[in-house]
């Protein structure tokens, strides 16, 4: 298992969109290293023949019929918005498109 350094944490923080100070990055790197070290046995626990379990209770084919239900009003939809204009959520400029 690789070490986790400050740059690794900085990269993860960018992916997770959480600003972090240098001090935070250093602290987090130390804490993560300890945690990751304690859980590394997990990768050796199961062989290739063991299937993964993503859902604890196996179900399949759970569907909704294609019938329109109740919707929020525009006012309800925007009720928690930090900022809005013209019936829509307002956000600062976006640097680049997808």
């Amino acid at each position: 298992m690789p070490e986790i350094n400050r740059e690794d944490v900085a990269h993860l923080a960018r992916l997770a969109h959480i600003d972090m100070s240098t001090e935070e990055l250093d602290r987090m790197a130390g804490e993560l290293a300890v945690i990751v070290d304690s859980i590394k046995t997990v990768s050796e626990a199961a062989g290739d023949d063991v299937p993964a379990t993503s859902h604890p209770i196996p179900l399949s084919n759970v569907y909704r019929e294609d019938v329109v239900g109740e919707t929020l009003t525009n006012e309800e939809a925007l009720s928690g918005a930090p900022d809005n204009a013209d019936g829509r959520f307002k956000v600062p400029a976006i640097l680049d498109g997808e």
Partner: protein
Amino acid sequence: MAELIRLSAAVLAEKLAAGEVSAVEATQAHLDRIEEVDGAINAFLHVNTAEALLVAADVDKTRSTGDALHPLAGVPIAVKDLIVTKGQPTTAGSKILEGWHSPYDATVVSRLRAAKMPILGKTNLDEFAMGSSTEHSAYGPTRNPWDLDRVPGGSGGGSAAAVAAFEAPLALGTDTGGSIRQPGAVTGTVGVKPTYGGVSRYGAIAMASSLDQIGPVSRTVLDAALLHEIIGGHDPHDSTSLTDPVGALVEAARNGDVEGMKIGIIKELHGEGYQAGVEHRFNEALDLLRTAGAEIVEVSCPNFKYALGAYYLIMPSEASSNLAKYDGVRFGLRVVPDGAPTIERVMGATRAAGFGDEVKRRIILGTYALSAGYYDAYYGSAQKVRTLIQRDFDAAFGQADVLISPTTPTTAFKLGEKLDDPLAMYLNDVATIPANMAGIPGISIPGGLADGLPVGIQFLAPARQDARLYRAGAALESLLEGQWGGPLLAQAPEIVGVK
């Protein structure tokens, strides 16, 4: 009125039905108690006085006209602030949701409303249910009614403490790795984590979707069963909701009996690493069960040694994705840095200011576990461990009807004691986590005291066999209370109010 708050929900319901007490009286008594002691406990983040009394008055009016009412109508309840409620704030214990009001009710809340149970308010928790002490709440810690210098467990410390301090006869909790059972254990209350899918998760703010489950918090096993039957059952809004009927849980709780029952001690979940006083109470409970006719066998779950590690990969991975929506765009906190920031910078600043350290820690850990190149070693391996844990349980349930263990390795620790040691904090959940990993149900009931602090005993049952928990739990509860001469909470010290 003092005795009203000490009644179990079942007894209070009988008195309400018989007209000996009104719903308004019962609700007011609990509101008064909250007013009296919650300054010291800090179990509630929001008290819903006006609406609770309105619902209670409606129950009294309906009863006076002779119309049918649900058996628990008028019995007040507290709701963990991770569960959304229309008309009241929902914070998840986080600054990022401060002041947010949900425009919809969680399914379990709709069911409480349908049963006309007055909702007293929203209870404190570790931020986004991430913690085992309720110290990670952005709104201050909750204190353990048994010792105000100690934690009430977590993440559902608020619900457990509210019930232990007689501020509410019932509460709702959520259990991802033990957040109902562990607080139950250290506050001398009952907590149930139902089979995954047994209670709808719609409206429970997600931490780890494949592990989260809503369940009852109470002072008696019967009370938990009564509440479980209200909140349980299929919900089309939750794709993982089981279609099975809830089952005769109340009947099982009323007929507690272990005669002829095979009870398996999980070798890996006691002994080394468990506090001596906890072991002692656990062994006493086993002796009592034996004398009541249970057959105690030992089972081994060798893969449980990987459970905590696998849990600390799956839980943060799912949480890192579930918590991405808190970005300052649609609801909740928005922090705008100086200058003319882009939305990316606003998101980064909002999440930096809105989330506490433990939440950030788990988001970063989860982001790491899911990131390119590490997925197979971490998330993928952890999911395989899940399979191994399920196989261990399958084998164990081949030998026993229910399994038993101490709920937690230790009694309540002191505030601040483990706050700077995440790993030590995580170890609190070592006995509760396997059930979440496998989706099976578990209950914690009071098992007595060690050095004056409550110890919890956990039963586990196969998936969809929640009724077995109530049958075994009620039997042990009755055996223990016979020894104590009454409920364990009768031994709790008086709370010195700090208004």
